[in-house]
Point group: C2
Amino acid sequence: MQGRYDTLKERLAQVHDLRRAQEILFWDQTVMMPPAGGPVRSAQLTTLDRIAHELFVDDEVGRMLEELRPYEESLPYDSDEASLIRTSRRDWEKSRRVPAELAAEMVGAAAEAHDVWAKARAENDFALFLPHLERAVELKRRYIECFDDYDEPYDVLLDDYEPGMRTAEVRAVFDDLKRELVPLIAEVGSVEGDDAFMGGPWPVDAQHAFSLQVIEKFGFDPRYMRLDVTVHPFAASSATHDIRLTTRYSADDITSLFTAMHECGHGLYEHGVSTRLERTPLCHGVSSALHESQSRMWENTVGRSRPFWNHFYPAMQAAFPEALGDVDQERWYRAINRVKPSYIRVDADEATYNLHIILRFELEQEIFAGTVALKDLPEAWNARFEEYLGIPIPNDSVGVLQDVHWSGGGFGYFPTYSLGNIISVQIWERVLADLPDLPEQFEAGEFGQLHEWLRTNLYSLGRKFTPQETLERVVGGPIDAQPYVRYLKDKLTALAPA
Amino acid sequence: MQGRYDTLKERLAQVHDLRRAQEILFWDQTVMMPPAGGPVRSAQLTTLDRIAHELFVDDEVGRMLEELRPYEESLPYDSDEASLIRTSRRDWEKSRRVPAELAAEMVGAAAEAHDVWAKARAENDFALFLPHLERAVELKRRYIECFDDYDEPYDVLLDDYEPGMRTAEVRAVFDDLKRELVPLIAEVGSVEGDDAFMGGPWPVDAQHAFSLQVIEKFGFDPRYMRLDVTVHPFAASSATHDIRLTTRYSADDITSLFTAMHECGHGLYEHGVSTRLERTPLCHGVSSALHESQSRMWENTVGRSRPFWNHFYPAMQAAFPEALGDVDQERWYRAINRVKPSYIRVDADEATYNLHIILRFELEQEIFAGTVALKDLPEAWNARFEEYLGIPIPNDSVGVLQDVHWSGGGFGYFPTYSLGNIISVQIWERVLADLPDLPEQFEAGEFGQLHEWLRTNLYSLGRKFTPQETLERVVGGPIDAQPYVRYLKDKLTALAPA
């Protein structure tokens, strides 16, 4: 049995090597590659993707997984070996359901739609994008038909990013969140302040140096990690000991600091996976929401907190004397936590962000339930946006056309952003119960115990368990919006006028 | 037939994509990767290598190549299609001859031997390295046994780097070269000069800026190319429009300038391959010697010439005022062309370099003819070195242990360096016949016509023809040492006292 297990593991290692190669080639493409290299790089990525897919969906892998059932059952559920067999069987069964032709058609349609979407957004022309949106939805309907184990069709879409999560559960959690957030935002969203200093100047070199200074305190270590510049920041990795963070700088904007903390959260998660899982399909964060919980925790729960700034503000002020010389810590703290409804999701504050997500989640469900026609999507978007955020949408470029996701068929992805916010505070409450003096540690510039707790309790697990099992292990229960609601209420009402 | 051809081409494109992915992952490893990423990266490269090899040596590829014989014969010899089939058949037949186990054993032995070699060199301990050298030679003997189409065993080794070249031909050319070079070097090698200024300082930023200034004149274009820093400079590429050059800087050494020109030569060759050959196995320079002819031409024939410095010296002096403020152009020109026997091949001047190579070529032949015992290699090395270069070897670290090649089983590679020198001047004479005013162009800072000539007549061909056919097309005849000998004699005797 050990021999068969080793054979399976070696096959999975090869697939994983190809996947990691794709990840680094993508990183290279967006961070390092000379601009004219694009077309050939796309072809290379397609080749690696196809070969990895074929190596994995092979009948032989299914046979090995079947033969290893008794071995799996003879081992503890928690063991690396049983977890590898169990998780790979789930991955294999899922990957077998989608015909290669459909998968290829989806990739091709996404590539075509991307440029049209970019043009439509630039020209505020939803009608231009509509046929591509229709095709993306049609292909996703065919994709859904490949599966049968769901309560409602949207479950299938969600499962690609949050395996095992059901739409009904997300709906319940989001309804809970929405009920509390809409009035809270209406209340605190009207608090004004003089944030003009946020326009800078923020010298780019100082942004880079200060970002590194902060994330090195979090656990960024150049022996294992890089921080580079790109257009749309992301984190990638080749191995637990080879993590690539990216960010972007603009002299009139200090967002980069929070971007660095955000991507560092993703990077610390990937870096913290047990090295015993290296070169296996378990060597990754477990789901989009759990991953996002970590980027959000380091960016928001830590990086927008008073204890954090009690430590860092003097250094920050010294690093940016022109912008912050006359700005006291309280004014800075209020500015970076300002709640203000705005059109663009990626620029939204910590609180309103979730209403952007809930809006998309609801519309995606209606699209696949057929209760909204795609041609009517702009109207549906605009009406609901005003209902939730209180401001009218002036044009589709800053409304329904703003995000890239739908052009690529990425339905089901959006909810994981807010699920991440919710989970981040569930975990945060657990950490605080174990380490009640964390705020004092932050004030002293110490973040190592938080990192260590997260590594021990979450990061090291990788994909050994399902997202639900993982969350259960870390916080002792299922997803629950209440801790996040309490956190936002406490933080934001403290900033409202008495 | 067109359908079968397209199927073959698609298969070869996939293999090529994997090979290019390896190339970029290797570039990433040596230029970008955080230091701890090494072990997993090695595993990824091994996986890509194995999959590419398996995809190519497959019986199915052989069947397709066989079926396409009539198609190939119906097409002009020069056509891209006939060339792809013909060259791939040669590659396939060769790759089929080596059992996978032997190939894997060679890779494993090379990895083991590398670290031992590095230790042996550091500690001047040939005996430590000897068992690994013995194993490398033994494996290469088994490798030679996989083939039968050769005049002498060394032909097989040479063929890996210079396909189709025979040992007898190299021997004749090198004997020719040696006969002329040994007395020439004895004569001009005694010319002294005050080159103390070559110790710098050479500020690293100015080196980088000046290197770019020079190679941009040669054709380096940031839309298609990058220049980065590494420990052992090389050139790599992902596509004709994605070329990666590397160099290194040291404040007490201006070698980087010639390194940049050298690697740029390699890069311009890869960049100049016809884009019609993109994503095929023809999309590469044709052989090590032809490739080296281009790095040497741009580095030496161009970059160490009087017309080049008539243009660039004023800017060079302005860029490095501390080192060159008091140095006139003639003194600089003599210093960078100084002939001076020294121990280390990679630091050797343009002329003595070839004697380092001839020494290795002769010893490699004797090793595989069994006329020198490996344990006696240091003595054989030292005796011959003194005979050719006139100076005794003080220890093996700067003698027989200096190069990495043998630890990796790279027998047969060395001669291509000098073959490259020889070919570079054969081509140079052809270019000058077509463009007699090239020296005046260089003096005016114009290098575009040289680049264009090389692209049209050499670079664009890629691997469509054999190295011999390629050389025949470019210079109208076979390899010949005489133009190179004339070039060195003219250049060097002009620098000797009257």
